[in-house]
């Protein structure tokens, strides 16, 4: 199933107009008791049985795909290259589907920079991602930024590969 088709199906299940759906689809839904274990009456269900709230961080991650929540930068740089543009376009499409969703873009730097400079660099990167999302039509007021400098590495090694993973801006849906 494509992302779009899946989202559509999930929205159908989530709707209160279950009666309008075919009986088969309703049967696909696990027993109510299972759903309540997640504590969310509005939950919908993936084929694998995990509850995903439309417009949630989980929904976002599923929609944008593996690593689709982040873009990467060269050392000391904060420009948005073509790969970043594709990633941010996918994020913008999701944001267009959920106009009430708000996000924080977290800017990060690798450990091979000084602390204060890296805080400033993380700000630059987060804002670069924010500005590009805004240029794609996402209302800037829906996008917060925060810099973690080198304080929150994703990859823990001290090598080029790890540093490349850590020079990033990550989009996170605000709960």
């Amino acid at each position: 199933m494509t992302n779009k088709a899946r989202t559509f199906a999930l929205l159908l299940v989530a709707s209160t107009t279950l009666a309008a759906c075919g009986k088969k689809e309703v049967e696909n839904v696990p027993p109510v008791a299972d759903n309540t274990t997640y504590g969310n009456t509005g939950d919908t269900v993936t084929p694998s049985g995990n509850a995903i709230i439309p417009g949630s961080q989980e929904d976002f991650l599923q929609s944008v795909g593996s690593m689709g929540d982040r873009i990467f930068f060269d050392t000391d740089r904060f420009n948005i290259d073509s790969a970043d543009q594709a990633t941010l376009q996918t994020q913008a499409q999701w944001l267009a589907r959920y106009p009430n969703a708000r996000v924080t873009v977290e800017g990060h730097a690798d450990e091979r920079g000084t602390r204060d400079y890296n805080l400033a660099l993380g700000e630059r990167r987060a804002n670069a991602a924010k500005n590009y999302l805004a240029s794609l039509g996402v209302d800037a007021s829906r996008i917060q930024t925060v810099s973690y400098g080198k304080e929150r590495p994703q990859a823990l090694g001290s090598n080029e590969e790890a540093w490349a993973q850590n020079r990033r801006a990550v989009t996170v849906v605000i709960r």
Binding site: E111, G113, R115, Y117, R124, G157
Partner: protein, 452 residues
Amino acid sequence: MEPNRSLLGFLLSILGLITLAPIAAAQETAPPADDEPELVEFDTAKVRRIAVPALVAPNPADTAAGNSATLGRQIAEVISANLRNSGLFEPQGPAGIRPITIEEVTAPQYDYWKGRNVEQLVEGFVRVGGDGNLTVGCYLYDVNFGQELTRLGFVVPPREWRRAAHKCADAIYSKLTGELPFFDSRIAYIAETGPKGKRVKRLAIMDSDGANHRFITNGQSTALTPRFSPNYKSILYLSYQDGNPRIYVYDIDSGRQRLITASANPTFAPRWSPDGQTILYSMAVAGNTDIYKISVNGGAPVKLTSAPGIDVGGSFSPDGRQIVFESDRGGSQQIYVMNADGSNQRRISHGGGRYATPEWSPRGDLIAYTRIAGDFRVGVMRPDGSGERLLTDSWQDEAPTWAPNGRVIQFFRTERNTGKTSVWQVDLTGRNERKLPTPVDGSDPAWGPVLP
């Protein structure tokens, strides 16, 4: 936040300098230079052999900090350790040398100490007063010339006995090296625990030798880059307390803190002016970071830089007239100097590689920095950019902070792969380097001035 009470404010008011009774054959000696330090080369080729026997307790008595005889030995141990750790002394004692009598304190047995092959001798006493306070006397003698060089006396509450030891060590260090004192001072830093991907970072303070350690924040929110105010009454630091990096000024007496600006923008890299009246900070607006200053009492901030690049950090010259800061306006991090009003901005680093975290020496003669050229190393240069000298050589040494006498630097070292950090100290020769004892990992040290 943990509740806090100010030990510091209390002890600042209680450490009293007393005048020791003159002794026979005493002669006036010049006081340690404290207005105009001699501009002699830092003489480190000469390592001074000095004996530090235990201080005598003429009438040993119990105090809140233990028996005064024990304190006499402990004070000598602290003096001895301070001198040794400076790299400029080779102390003997108090372990392994004979105890002295109270009579000897004012009538040293020069011939005996000559036989021990020492050049100088420190003797002293500890008395317990009726009010429970300690009176500590400290005398420095030149063994070869058979004369007194200096003497000092202090009244301290027993639990602050280490301060008397630091003051004594400072007097000896100043007298024999011609440099200003620095042992009796404190460090604010960040105590680190936990795995690399999830470090817990707490604001903490300690004496310059690592003693009297105290955690200030509990680690729930990441704390970074502290700076003691010149009067030690408050600490500027960065906290993610509200989810964003913001500078707070923490009041040590009350344990309360406040934001330095009402702006919703992220603020970081806080610094004090030498008079403690102005706060320098960096703020990112729409991703662009510039340097600002604001009165410690609030009011309107003044924007000092406006380059499109990252302008960050900064450190006042000791006269408060200039600021050294870092900027990547030219393409990479470099060191710039400007007047305190933001005018006349000019680059001073030209040695190749990147330069970061400039800190102006309290003496005014040098600027310390982090040089990034492959590895991170701590170095110094003159305020005009000349005379560049690297002091350390490791994988990642970062963020120098000056001892109050401008002759010693602390910085932090990060270990490759593990991300473990530690606070280190090095003198201007680069030869005397050592790790500070901290209860957990440590980073972002910030050295305060000599205590009154």
